[in-house]
């Protein structure tokens, strides 16, 4: 079985995001970019499935600016066998919407015929939480989102999912789209020899035109603003003081 893992290049999760004063967006020039944390988890799971013999090939795909190549090299260093880069933007500030990403991934899947797609639950930049679900709709495949455990059993996968009330287990027909939640696994770090080896692994470069997909956005971003600031608070010196402040406010 082949596993496809879509990985997105995003602002590193440790970087403090700065909103541009003119409301035109977030400043992404010269900030540290990394693989979306959920995609690292998805990639780790794919590699583990391969190590267990449940898969024989792991293909990483990224859509975005050409620098997404670095993200794909990280995926290859973790253990992916090959990578596909679809260059769909020339400015880092241009985000490709989940619907367009899903259409491109569908086109790749039509070519590659994987048995499983493992994506991240959510990209931590646009916080959409949508691409996997949209992709499975376009393919007419089953979906198991927010996975914290995956067992492949023949032509089905049994997936435990993180939901509002706790956990739900479902059994989905393969091929399936599964999205990784935080507790699925702990991703490995790529070792130096593997980073060197990754440089020689195949990385195909494509464009949306190769797949005949229109990536024009459906949503116009009118403006991007800072969230409302909270008024400065105060430090209290004791539990008694805290209790009396809360009583004053009438919240306890």
């Amino acid at each position: 079985m082949k596993i496809l893992v879509p990985v997105k290049r995003v602002i590193d999760y440790n970087v403090k995001v700065r909103v541009k004063a003119d409301g035109s967006g977030v400043d992404l020039a010269n900030v540290k970019m990394s693989m979306n944390p959920f995609d690292e988890i998805a990639m780790e799971e794919a590699i583990r499935l391969k190590e267990k013999g449940a898969a024989d090939e792991v293909v990483a795909v990224s859509i975005g600016v050409k620098q997404s190549q670095e993200t794909l090299r990280t995926a290859l260093a973790m253990g992916a066998d090959r990578a596909i880069l679809i260059t769909a933007a020339d400015d880092v500030h241009q985000d490709i919407e989940p619907l367009a990403v899903a259409k491109l991934l569908k086109a790749v899947i039509d070519d590659e015929q994987p048995g499983l797609v493992l994506c991240g639950k959510q990209a931590i930049d646009n916080d959409m939480n949508a691409t996997g679900q949209m992709l499975s709709a376009l393919l007419g495949w089953s979906q198991a989102m927010y996975a914290n455990k995956i067992d492949i059993e023949g032509d089905h996968a049994v997936v435990s999912r993180e939901v509002d009330g706790g956990l739900q287990t479902i059994k989905v027909k393969m091929p399936a789209i599964v999205s990784a939640d935080l507790r699925l696994n702990e991703p490995r770090y790529a070792s130096l020899p593997n980073i060197m080896k990754a440089k020689k692994k195949p990385l195909d470069e494509k464009t949306p035109a190769d797949y005949g997909v229109d990536v024009a956005p459906r949503l116009d971003i009118v403006k991007t603003t800072e969230p409302p600031e909270r008024a400065a608070g105060e430090m209290v010196g004791s539990v008694d003081e805290l209790v009396s402040k809360l009583k004053e406010k009438g919240v306890v």
Binding site: K16, V17, V19, V26, P98, L99, K121, Q122, I124, N126, D127, M128, N129, A130, T131, Q133, M134, A137, L138, S142, Q143, M145, Y146, N148, E162, V163, D164, G165, G166, L167, Q168, T169, I170, K171, V172, K173, L182, R183, R218, L219, D220, I221, V222, K223, T224, T225, E226, P227, G233, E234, M235, V236, S238, V239, L242, V243, K245, L246, V251, V252
Partner: protein, 308 residues
Amino acid sequence: MAVLLLAEVNDGALSVDSTAKAVSAVKDLGEVHVLCCGASCRTAADTAATITGVAKVRCAEADLYGHRLAEPVAALVVSIAGDYDHIAAPATTDAKNILPRVAALLDVMILTDVSGIVDADTFERPVYAGNAVQTVKSKDAKKVLSIRTANFDAAGQDGSAEVETLSPAEDPGLSEWVEDKLAESDRPELTSAGIVVSGGRGIGSEENFELIEKLADKLGAAVGASRAAVDSGYAPNDWQVGQTGKVVAPDLYIAVGISGAIQHLAGMKDSKIIVAINKDEEAPIFQVADYGLVGDLFTVVPELTEKL
């Protein structure tokens, strides 16, 4: 045209709070029709009919909908989508699972976690873990949106809408439910509680988490946790507050032994009053706190529990 609101129905019961908040969010977009589906959902539909501002409830009962699997519920929504310009739902994990599937089947973009509605085409949503708010205008013919309910007040319950029976749509037959492991609790639900007490890695163990639970019970509060507390096994996953957990905005949020990483703040910084208890005076949580207390939680929390 009207708005279709997919209600959260679990085991035949309506999640009244999230539905009522979503109704008040979308009511200016048009006549609100609530869709209830489940193995049995008559009671839920009758409850939905009482929410002020609901014009009609459509109730689809079939075993197929018993566990809110994405494929059949999305197919049901799509089967009636022609009647609506807007399709919305409170942003629960179920709706986040289902709505993007609906949107893709309709070939439209999804608007997730909408925190403000400007007009019929224009919406606000937080991005970058709530560090920025985007205003977006949709060019699509239909808008599919999930609503961050913490930002809206619940509609009242003095309505009496008609309840219509809806025939089930086709079963895509792609997935089956196996089991639920849901936490049983007498405490208020995290996303609708007036007070939330949350613990972080500083609590140190599952046993120690009892300190947090005792304080919460004293206050009639819900219990929350940071991701570090959940990952360390001190608290169950459904308690996680944050960018990738639950978003809460109670009247009072008490953060104990939580440093205040942006991913945690994303889930609680709209709370009305924030109290932080941490032994590290430099902890970033103090920057968003209305009242900060520097101290060892193992002495502060028992004392606070006693004095409240």
